[in-house]
């Protein structure tokens, strides 16, 4: 091994000490682990490499132990967690070739809080790269957003910037952004959440992985040039915000969707040419993480010559190049005989293509720059010996008991809810996203799940992102289950068969036992639901330390889910027809604990979260899909936040038709209309089909009840009524009003 001598270090580089290690986010015992591992003081560049590899973002040191408990297999799963994105089988294309869906969700929370437009844009860019690195063409994007209270002075600016940033990137790249989530809660005042999901389609026999193979193979750098962007970014993503966040600001990364679009086309051409042995995008801690991962997965070493890295700025040091987070870059191991062909493709697209190293037989990560060895480390140990923690956790305290019901008539309560930023129309958001490019969007945003046709076939993917953080805080296990169950329902309500999920686990500081308790509980719930509903977890992302001065976000494990529709004629939309009968599927107990009604109208977070019975969820979901398959229903919508009243109102607005929901003598009006019992759907059918629907339900052991009828221009909850135009105005103006546009 070439030993690194202090004398070889450029003089301006700081001496490596425990204090410097601490500035890099390495705890004293972690620094000691490095000293033990390499038997000497690391160089500055090496310290940077360790800090990148061992921070929470790359090493998952607080979460790994628990993530391992999630179910990840199933007949549909081609690649589970561990690759850039999950891969599942989705049947053949028009020529009979097997197709795969490649999808994942990832957070860009901290960067978006610092610079909302660019932070969100680069988040979208990063997740798109994860998908096309695997050989898939992205066909859809979703985003789950959480912001502080509507009246927090930062909220508008962050919302406007994030939405603009997501749009600017996805729209220019040319992927339809078809769905997502948007919520406001004071717990996100100091930490917004931006979770971006991308979904792609590839030939199942044309998936590319990151594991290098073969000794002496050229390692190629592709895409944009390297600048000092985000140096230290991966470290930042894992640090709690504090008073000094201003000073920690690293250079902000700027997204370049034009380069990403060219990179996509060039990579897909390159893959088709047979030149690629393995490929990996450069994400957090770019060159470091990608090179180590390719070597580690392939059981090889990697030698890099930084003199050959295309740089955008002058005099970049090895440390800066190894930690740069410049966007729109890839690393590839190339079949040497294909070099000329590969280079021609990148020349055509005006992108950089440079051989920057090679694979080596020893377990070694060797980095040279300007004639010096800047790093010389055992490669496998960089990820293999990363710390892993079993952090102490306690079950969070039970929420206060459920107090008295609000004093409100149901229609006033509905208008307050549907006119609020949390439950008003999201059109203000998704109209800023091109949700139709690629001309395969069958069900646009604004419904349950979005439906995107598999190009050239008569089948489609259904896509959704869901979580109810209020529930997760009150009862992490039930909340975790509910997030998966709601995703399952959203897919089922479109007629889709749920296939698999990706999770994006956003939490506060895991070093606090209550936060760790939320994390552990949510994972238990997600795991149980994923098993029971046959939706294995194929990948995900963990974002911890979403906390500012001790103020943590609500536990927010966003679930992104994919389902399959075997025939486009079986797609069920949300809009019923005039004259239809509405049937409520599922049991209503009037559960108001942690309900939208209490939290939105009175800011009360009382009572337990609604319990989730997974066997019932499954039975009801299968029942709705069977109804859709039999052509018995004209519309379906799942019940979630705001219960029956909000679901019925959304269906009425989608149809432009009035709806009358009957009262229920067994429950208090607010409990009946706004209770959030799970496993429920509201479906619409022709009056003459209602009886056969009820008969089927009896056979299937599914409780159903007639809930109302469609038609007219009035919306009714029992004896209370509002005109459709007033309802529509409240719904449509909720976000424009927040943004000061109306």
């Amino acid at each position: 091994m070439t030993h690194i001598t202090a004398a070889a270090r450029p003089s301006q580089e700081p001496a490596v000490t425990q204090a410097l290690a601490a500035e890099h986010g390495l705890k004293p015992d972690e620094y000691q682990r490095i000293l033990d591992l390499i038997g000497r003081t690391p160089s500055f560049t090496e310290l940077g490499i360790f800090s990148a590899m061992w921070n929470e973002h790359c090493s998952y040191k607080s979460s790994k132990l628990h993530l391992k408990t999630l179910p990840t297999t199933g007949p549909q799963v081609i690649h589970g967690p561990g690759e850039n994105a999950g891969v599942i089988g989705i049947g053949p294309d028009a020529e009979g070739n097997p197709l795969a869906c490649v999808f994942k969700m990832e957070s860009h929370n901290h960067p978006s809080f610092i610079e909302p437009h660019q932070g969100a844009a680069t988040g979208v860019g990063g997740i798109l790269r994860d998908v096309f690195t695997m050989g898939a063409r992205p066909v859809a994007a979703l985003n789950a957003l959480s912001f502080g209270a509507p009246d927090n002075p930062n909220t508008r600016r962050l919302l406007a910037g994030v939405v603009e940033g997501i749009g600017s990137y996805g729209n220019a790249f040319g992927v339809p952004t078809v769905g997502g989530e948007l919520r406001f809660h004071e717990a996100y005042d100091g930490n917004c959440l931006v979770n971006a999901m991308a979904v792609g389609i590839a030939r199942a026999d044309g998936i590319f992985l990151s594991a290098a193979s073969g000794v002496g193979m050229p390692v190629v750098y592709l895409g944009a040039k390297t600048g000092r962007d985000g140096v230290g970014g991966a470290t930042m993503a894992s640090a709690e915000f504090g008073e000094d966040a201003e000073e920690k600001r690293p250079t902000v990364q700027v997204g370049d969707p034009f380069t990403e679009k060219r990179l996509l086309e060039a990579c897909l051409e390159l893959m088709a040419s047979g030149a690629v042995i393995s490929i990996q995008d450069m994400g957090a801690a770019g060159l470091t993480c990608s090179a180590v991962e390719m070597g580690d997965k392939g059981g090889l070493g990697v030698a890099l010559d930084l003199d050959r890295v295309p740089c955008r700025e002058t005099a970049m040091s090895a440390y800066e190049m190894m930690l740069s987070e410049s966007q729109e870059r890839m690393l590839m191991v190339l079949r040497p005989e294909k070099e000329a062909e590969a280079k021609a493709i990148f020349d055509k697209w005006d992108l950089d293509f440079a051989i920057v190293g090679e694979t080596i037989g020893e377990d070694r990560f060797l980095v040279r720059h300007g004639g010096e060895v800047e790093a010389d480390l055992p490669l496998a140990a960089l990820s293999g010996t990363a710390p892993m923690y079993d952090r102490p956790h306690v079950a969070p305290p039970a929420p206060p008991p459920l107090g008295p019901l609000p004093m409100s008539d149901p229609v006033s309560a509905l208008l307050a809810l549907i006119g609020s930023p949390n439950y008003g129309s999201r059109a203000w958001v998704w109209q800023q996203y091109d949700h139709m490019v690629m001309a395969d969007t069958v069900v646009r945003p604004g419904s349950d799940a979005a439906v995107v046709r598999i190009h050239g076939t008569n089948r489609a993917l259904a896509l959704t992102a869901d979580v109810t953080p209020r529930y997760c805080k009150a009862n992490p296990v039930e909340g975790g289950k509910q997030a998966v169950a709601e995703a399952y329902r959203n897919l089922s309500a479109t007629g889709a068969r749920p296939l698999a999920i990706t999770d994006n686990l956003n939490f506060g500081n895991p070093e606090k036992p209550e936060i760790m308790g939320q994390f552990v509980g949510c994972i238990r719930g997600i795991g149980a639901a994923a098993s029971a509903l046959d939706m294995p977890v194929t990948g995900g992302n963990v974002s911890l330390y979403n906390e500012t001065e001790g103020w943590a976000i609500l536990p927010t494990p966003t679930i992104g889910a994919v389902g399959l529709i075997d025939d486009l004629t079986g797609v069920i939309a949300m809009a019923p027809r005039a004259g239809d009968t509405l049937v409520l599927i599922g049991t209503s107990s009037g559960h108001l604990g942690q309900s939208a009604l209490l939290s939105e109208l009175e800011g009360r977070a009382e009572g337990d979260a609604p319990p989730v019975d997974l066997a019932i969820e499954r039975r009801h979901g299968e029942f709705v899909r069977a109804l859709a398959g039999a052509g018995l229903i004209s519309a379906a919508h799942d019940l979630s936040d705001g219960g029956l009243a909000l679901a019925a109102a959304e269906m009425a607005l989608a149809a432009g038709q009035g709806i009358a929901i009957e009262a229920n003598g067994d429950l208090a009006p607010l409990a009946w209309f706004f209770g959030e019992d799970q496993a429920r759907y509201l479906v619409a059918c022709a009056e003459e089909d209602a009886q056969s629907l009820v008969n089927r339900a009896l056979e299937a052991g599914v409780p159903v009840r007639r809930a109302g009828a469609v038609g007219g221009d009035t919306f009714r909850l029992g004896a209370f009524a509002v005109t459709m135009s007033d309802l529509g105005e409240a719904h449509a103006n909720a976000l424009p009003r927040l943004m000061g546009e109306v």
């Binding site: 610092i114 600048g227 250079t251 902000v252 997204g255 370049d256 034009f258 410049s326």
Partner: protein, 80 residues
């Protein structure tokens, strides 16, 4: 009184537009373009008639709204 606020990206911040412009100029046969950076200029028509006060006002506006301090810097000129 007219104030002109010029907002440019900080050094080191990626400027995709600038790169594309430089490439396009080369593509058009212009030689010797080592690089290009794009910024914006905002011309303000201010009621203020004192140049120093106008400058101070424009600087405040740039600080508060016209420039994004995280990635941009600005300069102010006052026109007679």
């Amino acid at each position: 009184m007219k104030a002109r606020v010029t907002v440019t990206l900080k050094n080191g911040v990626l400027d995709p537009q600038g790169l594309a412009i430089a490439q396009a100029l080369s593509g058009l046969g212009f030689e010797g373009v080592n690089g290009a950076r794009q910024g914006k200029v905002i011309e303000l028509d201010l009621a203020e008639t004192d140049p120093d006060a106008a400058r101070a006002q424009a600087e405040k506006m740039a600080d508060k709204l016209l420039a994004n301090a995280v990635i941009e810097t600005f300069s102010v000129e006052i026109e007679a």
